[in-house]
Amino acid sequence: MLRRIVVVGASLAGLRATETLRARGFDGELTLIGDEPHRPYDRPPLSKQVLQGTWEPEQTMFRRKDGYDALALDMRLGVRATSVDLRARRVILADGTFADYDRLIVATGARARSLSGMAPRAGLLALRGLDDAIALRRELMNVSHVAIVGAGFIGLEVAASCRARGLHVTVIESLPVPLSPALGTTLCEMVAALHRDHGVDLRTGVSVADVSGESRVASVVLSDGSRIDADVVVVGIGVTPNTEWLEGSGLTLDNGIVCNDCGEAAPGVYAAGDVARVANRWHGDSPRIEHWTNAVEQGVHAAENSLAGPASSTSFSSVPYFWSDQYDRKIQFVGRARPHDEMVIVDGSLADRRLTALYRCGNRVVACLAVNQPRALIKYKKLIADCAPWAAALTATAAS
């Protein structure tokens, strides 16, 4: 008999877990613990609507304050979980209180990595949470030059938002192309050209040697010796999973919480979202995935399995999906591509920056990238989910 379920982490995965537990009829004590003072909010708008100033921070909240009444949560916000005692089934919090559980769902997410060796100072920021977005937006109101370190999706979305605000933007990327080489160099170069056409000074193949400025950033010195004046430096070089609080708990930690295919990290303990490494039956690996839809799917999955128990648990099987909005382009990606996979543009063109590309591994279609072609993605996702032969994907192309 389950009486108490504790969810640690009050973002998307944790929220969807609590919603699912209630929807499936769990009527016991349900505790949601979050280290930020905010109610659960949506992160994708932070780098776009919030930075551009078209949304107020309140608009990112998933539910209004009174929207939590129906979930009947013991919601403990602004307090960090500091450890877990698996034997006693107890989570200990920073304020000295604790929460006992019959089932525990860990969804503590990840935090932005900082530039190693660079002292914190005014104007040196990352974008991960709502407070980061509010702080960065405030900075952007009074500056003219922004340097962005890292041309991943976050860095490029911030670049596009800064350009929308009319700021001078320099993006610094140590790899030869932005985004991920696994997407294919030609597509990454197309995105690079998109940004250059919008006035971004994109520097690839160089790294940051130093950030100068005493109390406040003044410029960025690059590995090629050049210097970029910057009023604000935004660092977007990836994230680190929030697992330190679990060290010594007995859970297996290795770039995230290692889980089986049921999302279980230990008996009665589940993990979901950016912090979790759940074995995925679709491709047979257990990577850590930082996508929005993954947080939803794993939050739901962990909740369902925590109610079902080990004997009736289901395996996690999901085709990864993510998207990015930059200027007037929507980039959508489904599946998994690796650096040596062949990429073929099956519709549209690089010149139009409106296209559909498929990725081939052996004789299978493994991924699809679409730029401003949302319908194509739906069609190919099903084939990718079914591990369809490459020939079947080309037939589908001809049929459209």
């Binding site: 919603e19 959508q332 949302p374 319908r375 739906i378 996702k381």
Partner: protein, 63 residues
């Protein structure tokens, strides 16, 4: 159960079409269409999945 879509919020991710293909469709016009506004109870699980997976929260259910 009645399906309500806020088309001004819809961003054409298409996850609803995947979750509930009987209920949602992106048409040739590039707009999301609700094929069945009041789906049968048998489709509830699919429609609820569409609601919770929509990245822009554009879909809601009225009972």
């Amino acid at each position: 159960m009645r399906v309500v879509v806020d088309l001004s919020a819809c961003d054409l991710h298409g996850l609803c079409v995947e979750a509930a293909p009987d209920v949602f469709e992106i048409g040739d016009d590039g707009v999301l269409h609700v094929l069945i506004e009041t789906p049968a109870e048998g489709l509830r699980a699919n429609v609820e999945r569409a609601v919770r997976e929509c990245p822009t929260g554009a879909i809601s259910l009225e009972e």
